[in-house]
């Protein structure tokens, strides 16, 4: 795998990260190195092997439809960087 600047830009946008020019170069270098290391897995024959997703054999852990309301609005907003009496506040999609 060869990660170029365009790929890093695309991935950074998907991950909502902003990289300064020098950070970007370092990221390209690191990602190439790490992905090169990961490419080693291509040596393993996995034909017919199902992906392993769930780490326990359990199924059907469902909850009864019962309401439990134990957080107040005040608690919900307590950690908000910005809020009014009842809402979280965040800059609009497009700034004015």
């Amino acid at each position: 795998m060869n990660i170029d600047e365009q790929t890093v830009d695309k991935i950074a946008h998907l991950a909502r990260l902003e990289l300064a020019a020098d950070e970007k170069q370092e990221m390209i270098k690191d990602m190439n190195k790490i992905l090169g290391f990961m490419d080693k897995l291509n040596e393993v024959d996995t034909a017919g092997v199902e992906p392993l997703v769930y780490m326990t054999a359990e199924v059907n852990n469902l909850r009864d439809d019962v309401i439990k309301q134990d957080i107040t609005t005040e608690e919900a907003l307590k950690n908000a960087p910005m809020h009014d009496d009842s809402h979280f506040l965040v800059a609009k999609v497009i700034s004015k």
Binding site: V66, K68, I71, T73, F88, V93
Partner: protein, 489 residues
């Protein structure tokens, strides 16, 4: 906008697929136990889980799964017995986890169809691609503050069903009928209130056009934010002509996501294809699979209420009602429920249907009520029908005197009211004879006319007798006695 000649538009075929989001009326949310109720003070129906706080984990609401299965069965889908959830990763201000929990590879319902009746008289089956479960996002409002968006997370985590049709829809009418039918099913199953204005049912439309006879699809546009059935139809009609105009001018349809403006009836670009997100779906490691057994499926199937199409068949077949009457009764679940209870108390289906179509519906319409809100219980109405059938009151008295009393929701039965108001038909022949005698005496010249062969004056005598007896007579019997009396004068 170019106005297109119908000779141009006639060359084209409209192709529409709909994605319907139905908010399930569970008590608690899809993956957390806070309330899923609509409304409430902002950021009131919340939990650490639906706020996406660090360290929180989801747990599946059993009722959401049951509701999804019910809708699948109602839409003739096959139910996927092995279910998993996936994360759909994207950033938005009202998506506190940074991903939506949804189903990707193995949706709970596959295939199926919804039959819709068209004005042409034809019934068309609109095929369902699949139905899956997912959680809703919160709400951002952008117009309450100059600089900031206000975020309310009450809705975050409320369970949704996404019902995805195949691109089978060929007209705005079909789209409207499909949505009406889907909404009706949701309401019959009592799993969603289907209120599009409040957003508990939402619709996105994938719209494309192609030359008639073509077998491949044209590029499609996805129109979002359609908050009424009418607006879905308007958006479809608008897109149909817009896309044709572009193609006719030699242009190309860009595969964009569009916004519909209900004020202008036009669409505008929300996101271009290039801006399309890469959602990076992957299996949700925090939720184990759901394994549905045939037994569970069967018990849900057994507990399914009768669906509108089944009731229609029953009413027009077994009950011998007209298509029109049956159609009106099944249109709203409340009305059908009322009728079902009514016919469990009386065997006179025809009369029961007449009462529904007449007095009951006018009362509901005049007072803007639903059948469920009616004080008059079906059992009491059945009592009135039986009272008429037994000849103890006549129809007019029943409709004009007793029915209004019953509407007040009194404890008294129709028969008790009739007795109290002295409206019961008299079986005392002497009393009837007195009324007849009085009427005959009042119009001696009309008696002569009758005897000369002018049988039409009979109505006049009957009217007089009805009036003087206050309707408490058996019209048929009286009629016979009256003829006898006139002929023997």
């Amino acid at each position: 906008m170019t106005i297109l000649n119908s000779s141009v538009t006639d060359k084209y075929e409209l192709v529409v697929g709909l994605e319907v989001h139905a908010q399930l009326s569970t008590l608690s949310k899809a993956f957390s136990p806070d309330s899923a109720a609509f409304g409430g003070q902002p950021n009131h129906h919340i939990s650490a889980i639906s706020l996406g706080h660090p360290g929180t984990l989801p747990r599946i609401n059993k009722r959401m799964v049951e509701y999804a299965i019910k809708m699948g069965l109602a839409c003739n889908c096959s139910i996927n017995l092995h279910n998993t959830f996936a994360r759909k990763n994207y950033f938005y201000a009202d998506l506190p986890k940074g991903f939506q929990t949804t189903q990707d590879q193995q949706p709970i319902c596959l295939g199926g169809f919804v039959p819709v009746k068209l004005s042409s008289g034809v019934t068309k089956n609109i095929a369902i691609h699949h139905i899956h479960m997912e959680d809703d996002a919160g709400k951002s409002s952008h117009d309450q503050h100059d600089e900031y968006s206000l975020i309310d997370l009450n809705r975050a985590g409320v369970p949704l069903l996404e019902i995805v049709s195949q691109p089978d829809i060929r007209s705005a009418e079909e789209a409207g009928q499909f949505l009406t039918e889907v909404r009706r099913l949701l309401r019959y199953l009592e799993i969603c209130d289907g209120n599009m204005e409040e957003g508990s049912m939402r619709c996105d439309a994938n719209i494309s056009v192609r030359l008639k006879g073509q077998t491949t699809y044209g590029n499609r546009c996805e129109v979002k934010n359609l908050n009424s059935i009418r607006n879905v139809q308007r958006a479809i009609e608008h897109e149909f002509t817009r896309q044709i105009a572009i193609i006719e001018e030699g242009g190309h349809i860009d595969q964009n996501t569009l916004n519909f403006d209900a004020a202008t009836g036009e669409t505008s670009v929300l996101r271009s294809k290039e801006m399309a997100n890469d959602y990076r779906y992957f299996p949700e490691p925090d939720l184990l699979p759901i394994q549905i057994t045939e037994e569970q499926l069967e018990s849900i199937r057994q507990a399914m209420p009768a669906l509108p199409n089944q009731l229609f068949e029953k009413y027009t077949g077994e009950l011998n009602l007209s298509d029109y009457d049956a159609g009106v009764i099944i249109a709203e679940k409340d009305l059908a429920d009322y009728f079902e209870e009514l016919i469990s108390h009386t065997g006179n289906y025809k009369s029961a249907a007449n009462w529904m179509m007449g007095a009951v519906r006018s009362h509901l319409n005049e007072n803007n009520l639903t059948a469920g809100q009616l004080e008059l219980k079906p059992k009491a109405l059945a009592g009135l029908i039986d009272l008429v059938d037994s000849g103890k009151v006549n129809n007019t008295v029943a409709a004009q005197k007793i029915f209004p009393e019953l509407l007040k929701g009194e404890e008294a039965t129709a028969e008790q009211i009739a007795t109290r108001l002295n409206l019961m038909i008299s079986n005392d022949s002497n009393e009837v004879e007195q009324f007849i005698k009085a009427a005959v005496a009042k119009f001696p010249d009309k008696v002569k006319e009758y005897q000369k062969g002018k049988k039409g004056v009979l109505g006049l005598f009957m009217g007089e007798i009805m009036k003087s007896s206050k309707g408490k007579i058996d019209p048929q019997k009286t009629n016979q006695l009256l003829i006898k009396a006139l002929e023997s004068e």
